[in-house]
């Protein structure tokens, strides 16, 4: 075979080839980007969740005053900073959506929600859970839009209303189909204290308006120096 085309037909053929290559390159870039960020740190999460903090020593039979339980003394987290994501989000205390039984993620996408029934700002055991929107059909990108890009060792700082800081370090990033996610591990009130950030991810079903997956980032406290 030899190249026999000349003049205008040659230019048109080259243009076709160039356009074709450009389109294929775009396709390739999209295909690469569509590969999910790989999970890491799963075994760490399992270890953290199953190791109990040392039990306080005491008499074999505990005796307590049978007083009525007092109002909760949990300190609420008020703000979440993630420098890597240039994120500074207000934290609201939230519970359960009565209608669905789901986590009541704050409707405003620039806020994130702390699960008020679980461990709080001063927790010494269990999982402090904060969930936020990745995005919303009406409000666009949410506070946790780029949560899934956090890497091992990235810092997260939680503040209470008095600006007291508690610093954490990312140890795991995982992605689960919502039907398979081991929520009991992330909403545990025992095991070592850790911060668990949850949002949505994976393929989006435009018909139902839901993502298929949850993205979960686990961070452990950085020892105060």
């Amino acid at each position: 075979m030899s190249i026999v085309t000349q003049g205008a037909p040659l230019r048109r053929a080259l243009l076709l080839i160039l356009t074709g290559m450009t389109l294929l390159a775009a396709f390739a870039v999209a295909a690469c980007r569509s590969q999910p960020e790989p999970s890491f740190g799963g075994p760490t999460v399992t270890a953290i969740a199953s190791s109990a903090p040392p039990a306080p020593a005491g008499p074999s039979v505990a005796v307590r005053k049978g007083a009525l339980p007092s109002a909760g003394t949990d300190v609420e987290p008020a703000r979440l900073d993630i420098p890597e994501l240039r994120l500074r989000a207000t934290v609201s205390a939230v519970g359960i959506d009565r209608g669905t039984g789901d986590f009541a993620v704050p409707p405003s996408v620039d806020r994130v929600g702390w699960y008020k029934f679980g461990p709080g700002f001063q927790a010494t055991a269990g999982s402090i859970v904060i969930a936020g929107h990745v995005d919303s059909a009406t409000q666009g990108k949410g506070a946790f839009f780029r949560l899934g890009s956090l890497e091992d060792g990235d810092r997260i700082t939680l503040y209470d209303r008095n600006e007291t800081a508690r610093e954490f370090r990312v140890v795991a990033r995982e992605r689960y189909a919502k039907t398979k996610i081991p929520l009991n591990r992330y909403f545990a009130r025992d095991g070592q204290v850790r911060l668990t950030l949850i949002t949505c991810g994976g393929p989006f079903d435009a018909r139902t308006g839901h993502y298929r997956d949850n993205v979960v980032v686990t961070a452990e406290p950085v020892a105060a120096r």
């Binding site: 085309t5 243009l15 080839i17 074709g20 294929l24 005796v63 339980p69 909760g72 039984g101 699960y115």
Partner: protein
């Protein structure tokens, strides 16, 4: 401090800890020795006691209004005795022999006054089934020398005609409720009103104790936590902006690219 006229109640086997049918089911297949969690509640005003289990002093100087435990007891029969602090077990003021503890149960053993004002021990099996996320369990037990009562929350009766030694319970949204206790069918308040803080994932057990006659009615509370469940899910996105998956348009882009390449190459090589 001997204001209460204790009567020796040494009826061997008079009391079985199997107080509810549900517990007998649980203990029906004891292939191995299962342990039960047993809490002890002191609801007799004015008389601190030592508690002996199988002749061994387990609780010392146990004060009215206190809750002890839980003790981990293996399935089996137990002799339980209450003495005045420091006294020999032989001089017990209240004994129950061969009390059956089933396996895998959670029990509250309550020393209290009967409706007639006699000291007695009543075992209550505790409902420790998991709660839905956001819920709390309220259990009210009538263990006072008093007639039937209604329990009201926010002025509305929630438990009606509760008598000694029975309980009523409900799973409610966690939070604070203002509660009081009235004589059944009346507005005569005998206890409260008080703010009950019902913590999520926790059973709050409130005992009405004491005696209406001697004006010693009071409440004792016990909590059992760890009954929480996780939320059903975490729905946190509805826009689809974060979906970087390969949608049909992207495949079309790829296909058109291939087509252009093929046509272009063909034009180059043929006339």
């Amino acid at each position: 401090m001997n204001t209460i006229p204790f009567r020796r109640l040494a009826a061997a086997g008079a009391l079985s800890l199997v107080a509810a049918g549900g517990l007998t089911v649980l203990s029906a297949s004891p292939a191995f020795a299962a342990t039960s969690q047993v809490s002890v509640v002191h609801g007799i005003p004015g008389q601190p006691v030592d508690v002996y289990v199988n002749g061994e002093r387990t609780l010392e100087n146990f004060q009215p209004g206190d809750v002890a435990g839980p003790l981990s007891l293996e399935e089996g029969d137990y002799d339980i005795a209450l003495t005045r602090p420091g006294e020999e077990v032989g001089q017990a003021i209240l004994t129950v022999d061969d009390a059956a503890v089933p396996g895998d149960a959670n029990i509250s053993l309550v020393a209290h006054l009967s409706a007639q004002g006699e000291p007695t021990l009543t075992p209550f099996p505790n409902d420790v089934s998991k709660l839905d996320a956001g819920q709390a369990r309220l259990i009210v037990r009538h263990t006072a020398a008093a007639p039937a009562v209604d329990v009201r929350a926010g002025g509305e009766p929630v438990f009606q005609d509760l008598t000694n030694p029975n309980e009523a319970k409900a799973d409610l949204p966690a939070g604070s409720v203002s509660a009081d206790v009235v004589l059944a069918g009346t507005d005569d308040v005998v206890l409260g009103p008080t703010d009950l803080n019902l913590r999520e994932g926790t059973a709050t057990i409130v005992y009405a104790v004491g005696s209406a006659e001697t004006d010693t009615l009071d409440v004792v509370a016990q909590t059992i936590d760890g009954l929480h469940s996780s939320p059903g899910g975490v729905p946190s996105g509805s826009g689809g902006l974060a979906d970087r998956g390969m949608t049909a348009p992207w495949y079309a882009v790829g296909a058109i690219g291939l087509l252009f390449l093929a046509v272009g190459a063909r034009r180059l090589t043929t006339r």
